[in-house]
Symmetry: C2
């Protein structure tokens, strides 16, 4: 009864039936025109009428209805990372999404913070994506992968360092990072190497392989490796610096450039000379490493390109039957700078 002025907010959302009615054709014809179905020939006049009707109504197809009917969603689901990703990952993800869109996929990130792996997998499966691409480890377990496959997901691809049963893997082997760092420090004559392992949850997936890499690098050299837990705050760094003399280390690989900066500052504040008394090495080659004094030696990563990964997705979706493939797609190399230089004191500040 009461006429609501609501700026027409109550107007129902137009469907293809509305378009058909306005254009004076059937819904089938609307579908043909709007999807450019080549198997059927429609007169130019009708095409135009349909298009105009769709425009006038502001018609937008309903993805759920379409995928229900067609049986496939062309949706690629990426479990969103709960930890802030660095510029490296960010660039990779952007590339990846862009490449997937060229293959006509819809890319969607689904955050599952606070969900158990099983709950998360269930939630993802409800969306019936055609592919799931995520970090392995706690996020994407073997059980979760099985569940996804049962609910019609054609391609499950993990990016983690460890391949997971049942999924294709784009193995970004972070041991390479540790190997590089370890080899570089050995070469510089360091013998007692500390390795920072962040206390922050969710990072074990990267930190453990990096630690293992350092261990592998020093294997048989007589050098020793000492894991050092560190939280990303000043107190933790200060406490570690306090213990430093007792540890008797002459080098430290600090997980990444940010932890390296944190620890290096704490060590310098305790009067420990870098690199004279202790070499410090980071990873990820962030800009900040070049801004520090001494300049921070680091490990640079070449990650897989998003394009490559998108091609893998497309291939696996097309042929879901194949055996899980495993691709190694990470190269690492040491970038020596001042913080690991042998036999000299840090340059004085200007």
């Amino acid at each position: 009864m009461s006429q609501i002025p609501h700026t027409s907010a109550e107007r129902p959302v137009p469907t293809s039936a509305d378009v058909a009615r306005l254009a004076g054709v059937s819904r089938a014809t609307v579908s043909y025109v709007l999807n450019g179905t080549s198997a059927v020939r429609i007169s130019e006049a009708t095409r135009i009428r349909v298009r105009e009707a769709a425009d006038e109504l502001g018609y937008i197809p309903h993805a759920a209805a379409r995928s229900l009917r067609s049986g496939s969603s062309r949706m690629v689901l990426l479990p969103a990372s709960p930890v802030p990703v660095g510029p490296l990952y960010s660039r990779f993800f952007n590339e990846f999404q862009w490449a997937l869109r060229r293959f006509d996929y819809t890319v969607v990130q689904y955050g599952s913070l606070g969900l158990s792996p099983d709950e998360a997998a269930r939630a993802w499966a409800e969306l019936r994506p055609v592919a799931v691409v995520g970090l392995g480890g706690p996020q994407l377990t073997a059980a979760g992968i099985q569940l996804l496959r049962r609910s019609g997901v054609k391609a499950v691809i993990t990016l983690g360092p460890e391949p997971v049963a049942g999924a294709h893997a784009l193995a970004m082997d972070h041991r390479q990072v540790g190997l590089c760092a370890g080899a570089h420090l050995l070469e510089r004559g360091r013998r007692r190497i500390g390795v920072v392992v962040p206390r922050e949850p969710g990072l074990e997936m990267f930190s453990q392989p990096r630690l293992a890499g350092v261990r592998a690098a020093v294997e048989g050299s007589g050098a020793t490796v000492e894991p050092l837990a560190l939280s990303y705050d000043e107190e933790s760094a200060a406490a570690l610096a306090e213990r430093w003399p007792a540890l008797g280390l002459d080098a430290v690989f600090a997980y990444n450039d940010e932890y390296a900066m944190l620890l290096m500052r704490a060590l310098q504040d305790r009067g420990i000379d870098i690199p004279g008394e202790c070499a410090v090495m980071g990873a990820d080659d962030l800009l900040l490493g070049r801004l520090l004094r001494p300049r921070l030696s680091t490990v640079q990563l070449d990650m897989a390109t998003g394009q490559q990964l998108a091609e893998l997705v497309e291939r696996v979706v097309r042929d879901p039957g194949g055996e899980p493939e495993r691709h190694d797609m990470m190269a690492a190399r040491a970038i020596p700078r001042e913080s690991t230089q042998p036999g000299r004191r840090a340059p004085a500040h200007t």
Copy 2:
């Protein structure tokens, strides 16, 4: 004909009809049991039979079918940011998603890199989300918002500094940041203030209001404000430092802590004393600012909590008719450290 051994990969995805068949009941009963419909009483025996059948088949409901039938998706869509977000935003987003899930929403991020605003809005609308929450500005335009509303989106909420027509706004007014910084620098006796404006695209939305805030702060004080374009790389910073003497500035507000670190290093390398000759101020209160020498003064932001935003979403979805609300939800305050201290030289390095 040909029996395919494919590890049962070809097995069709179970539907509620399969569950019904296995449990020996109708699909209606399955729906009642699995959704815990309270209006209908089902005997305990059947409930158990249905649950067991569902478990055995690994049945997972089809979200698209459900939302098609029910007419609403309970999906909240967040346009994903193409630029890597800092720890501040990351924490906020996590909180927000968590809170939304408590309201039984499904949160999905949709990246639209390389899509025009109109194309992006169309792509979002196809998913028929119940709400869209995004940064305003180039991402979410007035036209896009209208399109979304027409396709049934109940709540469109922008987070940007500027409210956009037709959307509710949780205005995070970044002018506050500039105001704080400007006021702090004035109070410290600085008169010629440079303001770094990042050249990186996508940041104007924040950098322009921050600049405007500084301008507002110095209004009438006789102090001057000089915008300084800067890219996030060493060359750009070195070039700016080169021009520094000619600029004759005695303070600079560097957009955020990272740009501040970049510029401060370049200035120090040119032999310019911080804060003696020039005060440097950052924003976002990152850990790295405390690790620099001199320690970096900064502006700390209190962003809206995710809980608050989730409540706004829920409220607007429940009552979509209301006038667009505008909430101001950002407070900022200066955190003075060494890099803006008056009348003294930087402390010597140990």
